[in-house]
């Protein structure tokens, strides 16, 4: 793994950066595989932008190294300025040059050699052939975004960095465009590092996820692997709905009101259950009581209370129509167990009208 790191399009090692009293990055490590799309995911303020700006060369780290395709661009006594890093950037505000038309924006990073050919090639790729003469202000937000992408792709950089590239778009356009951008990047076989705070977006488009919290990467891996095997309860909760409760592991198993699960741990543990792995069905002698129901049409979300002050949510088929107070039986298809006994970070808010049993996690 370490020897191949030399050939990574981009690798950051032990980056630290503080602004006055604020620690933005604290031992930040990241590697991206050639041709893949890596998403750095984390809530806002954890240092994602700072990390990206250091990788691009806009900001100096206090310590740590960055290598682009094996060449050190940040390191002890070394700083390669952004214009010589071969790292492209797609900005949150697109940063199109307002005084240049689309073709000249895209050609900005190219030398005279084959310039026109390359411009039309890239514009074709992003589906904007024929827009060469338009000025940036004559484009829709989605088109501006694709011009920004084309401009970054044109010089054929080692890596493209994108900071919250979809955050300026409305929800419908965002979904469409992220699929488009994904396939453009695939076609171009570009290595991309994207930053976002939107877990749905990250899970949908990424080859690799890097979860970031408090200035460092806490877990990396393919989206479904990270989703299924979160390293910490924080990761679990950040990636999707999850309910937690404390339990005791003894003799290689954990006993819960909804069944017994094998484990290798023992002692006090924390159990995490995702709503989609919970199934409920009406049962007069069931152990649980429905406390809350949200109906979405294609499915429903039920909150059920179990003995031992455990509350779980169940995402299930819209049928049967259950109502608060109904008694139900619960079956859980797989749980996740954490060692840490402490409570996960407090949720942002609590839905009105729900009693606060133990942990209620709100769908993001």
């Amino acid at each position: 793994m370490n020897s191949s790191a030399n050939h990574r399009p981009l690798a950051a090692h032990a980056l630290c950066k503080s602004f006055d009293a604020t620690v933005a990055l604290d031992d930040f490590n990241l590697e991206v595989e050639s041709g893949s799309l890596l998403t750095v995911l984390g809530p806002s303020g954890v240092g994602k932008t700072t990390a990206l700006r250091i990788l691009a060369g806009f900001e100096m780290p206090d310590s740590g190294t960055v290598r682009v395709n094996g060449q050190t661009v940040n390191g002890p006594g070394i700083f390669v300025p952004p214009e010589r890093r071969q790292v492209g950037m797609v900005f949150q505000d697109y940063a199109l040059f307002p005084h240049l038309n689309v073709a000249r924006n895209v050609a900005f990073g190219l030398d005279a050699h084959h310039r026109e050919l390359r411009v039309s090639q890239v514009l074709e790729m992003v589906g904007l052939a024929g827009f060469e003469k338009r000025m940036p202000h004559e484009l829709s937000a989605g088109q501006q975004q694709r011009v920004a992408l084309a401009r970054a792709l044109a010089p054929g950089p080692q890596v493209i960095l994108a900071d919250e590239p979809f955050s300026n778009l409305d929800a419908a356009l965002r979904k469409r465009l992220r699929a488009e951008v994904r396939s453009i990047l695939r076609e171009a076989r570009t290595t991309t590092i994207m930053v976002t705070h939107d877990q749905e977006e990250a899970l949908a488009v990424s080859d690799q996820l890097a979860l970031m919290n408090e200035g460092r990467v806490v877990q990396t891996g393919p989206p479904d692997h990270v989703y299924r095997n979160p390293a910490t309860s924080w990761v679990a909760e950040f990636l999707g709905d999850a309910d937690f409760f404390d339990a005791h592991a003894k003799g290689g198993r954990i006993t819960t009101p909804f069944g017994t699960f094998p484990t290798t741990r023992s002692g006090k543990v924390k159990v995490m259950v995702r709503p989609e792995s919970v199934t409920v069905f009406p049962h007069a002698q069931g152990v649980a009581v429905v406390t809350y129901r949200e109906f979405f049409g294609h499915d429903q979300l039920l909150s059920v209370k179990l003995p031992g002050k455990i509350t779980l949510r169940a995402r299930c088929w819209p049928q049967p129509a259950l109502a608060p107070g109904d008694r139900v039986a619960v079956s859980v298809d797989g749980i996740h167990i954490f060692d840490e006994p402490q409570a996960p970070p407090a949720p942002p808010e609590t839905p009105p009208g729900t009693p606060l049993p133990q942990r209620v996690v709100i769908p993001r």
């Binding site: 006594g77 700083f79 010089p155």
Partner: protein
């Protein structure tokens, strides 16, 4: 696709340091006049002027300032209200007409007054011809008051009109709904909303009156600026002149400081978008009265002065006295103004970059320095630079380099403001985008920042050109021997009673000022 990458290089300076270095170098000369004036204030040089004289000058200057400020506030406030808040027809034309007198330098205004009503004046001749008594030579307080008031009205109009336009009508409606009468609403609701802009306008006019040299010297009203020049011209000892200059500068800096305070507060009142009221309906009588007022204003402040100048030139042509034609002065004025505008356009870039992109103490210091010097009356700057060059930089004494340098430093804020406005619209991410696309900092500046800054630079440079053309007192003190500009020509010819000569130079000055004024007006005044 990739090109061969050069080896990484050791980092010498972080990329922004150069801007700071350049900005510091640019602003360093500003320290010279400010330093000398500060020295003048604390070193006791002031005591070389008798206290009674200081008080007399302060009383004279204060009286003129108060009179000019209050009358121009009334007139300018009324014109702003008429143009911005009523359904008066032809408002665009009215705006241009009301603002144009600002292009008339005070010494040209004084010349027009003298040329109209002085000995041999156009109006006095007509009056005598009709059998009237001989008119006294117009001079002193009332003459200076008239000229400076007419020129100051546009300043007030400019400061107040945007605030009038964005008056919140719901407040007035609410007050009326609560049973307040029109007059009460005006005093308790409308006026408080306008107070920041009125205060700003008043301070601007006060500063302008305080600094004026051209009108008070030609009309012989004894204020600080005139006294400084007389002390300078009449004595070998420079200390009394420097002392007076230091006092004047201190008062001016105080006014600038107050003005900047009101400006930031004024933003709160004017910048918020909201519903603007439907214009006040003037009846036919109201419209006639309104245009009568504006027409009189424009006639007195613009048409009559220009007509008087033209009449004197005609007189000269007819009688054949117009031998000494000021073409050389015209050329000199034009190129020195052009040079100043160019230099200012170049040196403003780092100051604009630093003060727009960084909000720290040093940026504040640079900007504050530029503004402080902008407010210091030119005669005081000139006096300070004479003392400075005599003491510390003898080779620069009375050189063109010094003159242009002083112009640039004095007028820098005029180009700094518009440049910063345009630069503020260039997001730093555009520069970063250019860098990540392979352009060096210099090529990024040339390819992205500069083109986007250009509109502001252009209108700022036009403003600097205009101001340099009209500059009188600093030119008078610092110019190389024999370097006579149009402004100096007007002033000296008028002072010696050669109104024909002065009028021709004055007309030329107004004509060459029209072009940059048109540029500036398009960009700045009428938005």
């Amino acid at each position: 696709m990739g090109v061969a990458r050069p080896a990484p290089r050791l980092r010498a300076l972080p990329p922004n340091t150069w801007w700071w270095v350049l900005a510091g170098v640019v602003m360093l000369p500003a320290a010279a006049p400010l330093g000398v004036l500060a020295y003048g204030l604390v070193s006791g040089v002031v005591t070389t002027v008798p206290m009674a004289r200081l008080l007399e000058l302060a009383a004279n200057t204060g009286a003129l300032g108060a009179a000019v400020t209050s009358t121009s506030l009334l007139i300018g406030g009324a014109s702003a209200w008429l143009v911005s808040r009523t359904d008066l027809p032809g408002k665009k034309l009215a705006t241009v007409l009301v603002l144009t007198p600002f292009a008339v330098p005070s010494f040209v205004g004084a010349l027009a007054l003298l040329g109209a009503t002085g000995a041999d004046g156009i109006l006095s001749t007509a009056w005598a011809w009709m059998g009237g008594d001989v008119i006294r030579y117009p001079s002193g307080f009332w003459a200076a008051w008239l000229v400076l008031t007419l020129i100051s009205v546009p300043l007030v109009h400019l400061a107040v009109a945007p605030a009038v336009r964005s008056l919140n009508p719901t407040l007035e409606e609410a007050a009326r709904g609560l049973g307040a009468g029109r007059l009460k609403v005006f005093w308790t609701v409308t006026l408080p909303q306008l107070r920041p802009s009125l205060t700003a306008g008043a301070l601007l006019v006060g500063l302008y009156t305080l600094s004026d040299f051209g009108a008070v010297s030609l009309l012989r009203y004894d204020t600080f600026t005139r006294a400084i020049y007389l002390e300078y011209a009449g004595r070998v000892d420079r200390r009394p002149a420097l002392g007076l200059a230091a006092v004047l500068a201190a008062v001016a800096v105080l006014l600038v400081w107050l003005e900047r305070g009101t400006r930031t507060r004024g933003v709160w009142f004017t910048a918020r978008p909201r519903r603007t009221g439907s214009p006040v309906r003037l009846g036919l009588g109201g419209k006639i009265l309104g245009w009568g007022f504006l027409g009189t204003l424009v006639t007195v402040s613009l048409l009559v002065p220009v007509a008087v100048l033209i009449a004197w030139v005609m007189r000269g042509l007819i009688s054949g006295v117009l031998v000494n034609q000021p073409w050389a002065e015209l050329g000199r004025s034009m190129w020195v103004a052009l040079l100043t505008a160019l230099v200012a356009g170049v040196v403003v870039a780092p100051v604009a970059m630093v003060t727009t992109r960084y909000r720290n103490r040093w940026a504040g210091l640079l900007e504050g320095g530029a503004w402080a010097l902008y407010g210091v009356p030119h005669i005081a700057v000139g006096m300070a630079m004479i003392v400075f060059t005599l003491w510390l930089a003898r080779p620069l004494y009375q050189t063109l380099v010094l003159l242009v340098g002083v112009y640039v430093v004095m007028f820098l804020p005029q180009i700094l403001g518009p440049s910063r406005d345009s630069l503020g619209r260039v997001s730093p991410s555009m520069e970063e985008a250019s860098r990540s696309l392979g352009r060096s900092p210099l090529r990024t500046f040339m390819g992205i920042t500069l083109p986007l800054m250009a509109p502001g630079l252009l209108s700022g440079a036009a403003l600097v050109f205009l101001t340099t053309l009209r500059e009188l007192p600093a030119t008078l003190l610092l110019r190389p021997a024999g370097f006579e500009t149009l402004a100096i020509r007007v002033w000296s010819a008028t002072g010696e009673g050669f109104y024909t000569q002065g009028a021709l130079a004055g007309l030329l000055l107004l004509l060459v000022a029209a072009l940059p004024l048109a540029i500036v007006t398009r960009h700045e005044l009428i938005r």
